[in-house]
């Protein structure tokens, strides 16, 4: 059977090119983070697909469909848990991979394009997180996305337009949910798969980089003691030194892929373990009237959320747009900014300083955001009146009902107290009584109120009276 495929596809060439290729000497476990990112993406794709079999992206049904998964679907909570923890794990692993690549100076010649594609992948990973956590349509999802899209609105000139495009209109609603879902399920996966394909191709085509200290030593040896180390290696020097490292290296299969496999298995095992041990939170259903809720984004956006506190009012867009833009411009231009002769971080003081400071700043901002989370504000939704009841309240004040009745603890004693009347009389009785008391109680002293009030006004009063305790 192998022969059948070999005759048609030359699988031997594919096998040797992809799997038996030599990986440079010196490659260590830090290099498994890239494969681990990809493995986590597959986990997200599988669990996400299962969740998509049940999820309904409309405000009426989104929450119920997620609850259905959590209570009625076999393994539902585990699948959702893996997806939830997997998302955080993917952010962590992608960031670590980026830090290792940055630390090793692997964005330098000839891997600049790989680095740029990687920046794209970094952005896509965060975009997945942002679009994904709106989908359960619980309180956290709704409020975090309200804040997030408001932030987009702070951009000068085009802010309002951007905010409307993100939300699918002026308000956060059904259109927001469907376009976030379409982005999360279709657009971002397509973009990610395309970028991953290019990224992987380049990694195989060019080979992975050599750990920087080893590399610098080898280049120095190759050049000899008399050549100065003031310029980066020429492409001829590069290829000569690289070939030597490959010669002394190991095969991808099985020597290196086993490292990838074991590390990825451990990471996935950790994610599944977290999913099994800890239940994934699902707060109450989204309620736009909940003024007591404290909106917070997912943890990996907390640093940005915290940063905005230092940019008041009109300067907010600086924090939203300018700083992140500067950050990405820095990353993109990095291969041109850092043209030093050495790759080792010890000899790249500026890059190392900028990288180190960024990590410390983000870590501090995240920690500070957690520390300064205010407790939930008072939830007074149960004691609020509806607009009908407010009208009724005003009518009661205007008609002087308190001259005969106690209402809200105050009033006359001529008629019975109306506090708690809902427990004694039905709404229909109250309504009819107000309209013409003598219909129900022939000896009533109370005047009829229909007229001077209308039927609707009497109904408003009735609804208000029913709220009295």
């Amino acid at each position: 059977m192998y022969g059948w495929f070999q005759d048609r596809l030359n699988v031997d060439l594919l096998w040797r090119g992809l799997f038996i290729r030599k990986i440079p000497f010196g490659v260590n476990l830090l290099y498994t983070l890239g494969f681990a990112s990809l493995a986590l993406f597959f986990v997200q794709a599988i669990t996400g697909t299962i969740l998509a079999l049940y999820y309904s992206p409309s405000p009426d049904h989104a929450y119920d469909s997620v609850e259905y998964v959590m209570t009625q679907v076999p393994f539902g909570p585990v699948i959702r848990g893996i997806h939830h923890w997997g998302a955080s794990a993917m952010v962590v692993v992608v960031v670590l991979h980026m830090l290792v690549t940055f630390g090793m100076g692997a964005y330098k010649y000839p891997r600049e394009v790989t680095w740029w594609v990687g920046i794209g992948l970094f952005i896509v990973t965060f975009a997945f997180g942002f679009t994904g956590y709106l989908l359960p349509w619980d309180e956290k999802a709704y409020w975090a996305t309200t804040v997030g899209t408001n932030m987009a609105g702070t951009v000068p000139l085009i802010g309002d337009f951007v905010e409307r495009v993100l939300r699918g209109g002026a308000q956060l609603g059904a259109l927001t949910l469907t376009r976030f879902y379409a982005t999360h399920m279709l657009i971002l996966p397509m973009v990610l798969v395309s970028l991953v394909a290019v990224h992987l191709f380049l990694v195989v085509w060019q080979g992975v980089s050599v750990p920087p200290r080893l590399w610098d030593q080898a280049v120095a040896t190759f050049r000899g003691p008399r050549r100065a180390q003031t310029a980066p290696e020429t492409d001829i020097e590069y290829h000569a030194v690289y070939e030597d490292f490959k010669l002394r290296g190991r095969r991808f299969f099985p020597d290196l892929i086993v490292e990838d496999a074991v590390v990825s298995t451990l990471v996935i095992l950790l994610v599944v373990g977290l999913a099994v041990l800890f239940s994934t939170p699902l707060e109450g259903q989204a309620d736009p009237t909940n003024t007591g809720y404290v909106p917070r984004p997912e943890w990996y956006f907390l640093f940005l959320f915290e940063l905005l506190k230092y940019f008041p009012g009109s300067l907010e867009w600086v924090g939203v747009v300018v700083l992140p833009a500067l950050f990405f411009v820095f990353l993109v231009l990095l291969p041109f900014l850092d043209r030093g002769p050495r790759r080792s971080p010890r000899y790249r003081p500026i890059s190392s300083a900028v990288g180190g400071l960024s990590v410390i700043a983000v870590a501090f901002l995240t920690w500070h955001a957690v520390q300064t989370t205010p407790p939930a504000l008072a939830d007074d939704r149960n004691s609020r009146l509806t607009s009908t009841e407010v009208l009724g309240h005003e009518l009661v004040d205007a008609q002087g009902c308190r001259s005969c009745h106690v209402i809200g603890g105050q009033g006359g004693q001529i008629g019975p107290t109306l506090d708690g009347v809902a427990g004694r009389r039905s709404a229909a009785y109250i309504h009819s009584y107000i309209e013409n008391p003598k219909n129900l109680s022939p000896n009533a002293v109370m005047p009829a109120f229909l007229p001077p009030l209308t039927h609707q006004e009497v109904e408003d009063i009735t609804q208000y009276l029913l709220t009295l305790r």
């Binding site: 669990t47 299962i50 469909s65 259905y68 076999p74 585990v78 699948i79 893996i82 099985p254 086993v258």
Partner: protein
């Protein structure tokens, strides 16, 4: 040439390949079992039909079929809907009760009791059934479908379900 180094290398490579295989198999099981369970699960669970009330048994006259409209709650995933379904209740000596599903077994039209002719008649294709549900004339392929019935706390109760139409054998819908 089979030097000891080459042989050791081959053994090492085989072991590493086996470790990779083990990792892949382990992950396939770890993720595959919940994935398949979650995908297939709801298809296999059957909803247990609730007992719905038809009324006091005394309300039904012997040998006089009476139609009753039932509000049947249906769970569709996370959505609960109520549908109105018709059944015919026939009381026999005992008292025994037979409750027929209100759909004609031919193509599902609503049939009705014709007191003058002492038979159930379907207006769509002239199907005719007797008091016991047996087919007397017309295209219906099988007798009327009877439903599980019980008397509990002096209340007549039935478990509603629909059956496939147009088949000689009764099968759940």
């Amino acid at each position: 040439m089979d030097s000891p180094v080459a042989a050791r290398d081959t053994d090492r490579r085989t072991l590493l390949a086996q470790i990779i295989g083990a990792c892949v198999a382990f992950l396939a099981a770890l993720l595959g079992v919940p994935a398949i369970g979650a995908s297939v699960g709801p298809a296999l669970t059957r909803q247990e039909a609730a007992w719905l009330t038809l009324g006091n048994p005394e309300n039904f006259e012997e040998a006089v079929p009476k139609a009753v409209n039932l509000s049947v709650a249906r769970r569709d995933g996370w959505i609960e809907t109520t549908e109105v379904k018709a059944v015919w209740v026939v009381r026999q000596p005992g008292p025994q009760f037979t409750v027929f599903n209100g759909r004609c077994t031919h193509l599902g039209c609503a049939y009705s009791w014709q007191a003058a002719q002492n038979e159930f008649a379907c207006p769509c294709h002239a199907g005719v059934y007797g008091l016991n549900g047996g087919v007397l004339a017309g295209p219906p392929p099988r007798p009327l479908d009877s439903l599980p019935v019980r008397v509990e706390n002096n209340t007549l109760q039935v478990q509603y379900q629909d059956f496939q139409l147009g088949t000689p054998e009764q099968a759940p819908a």
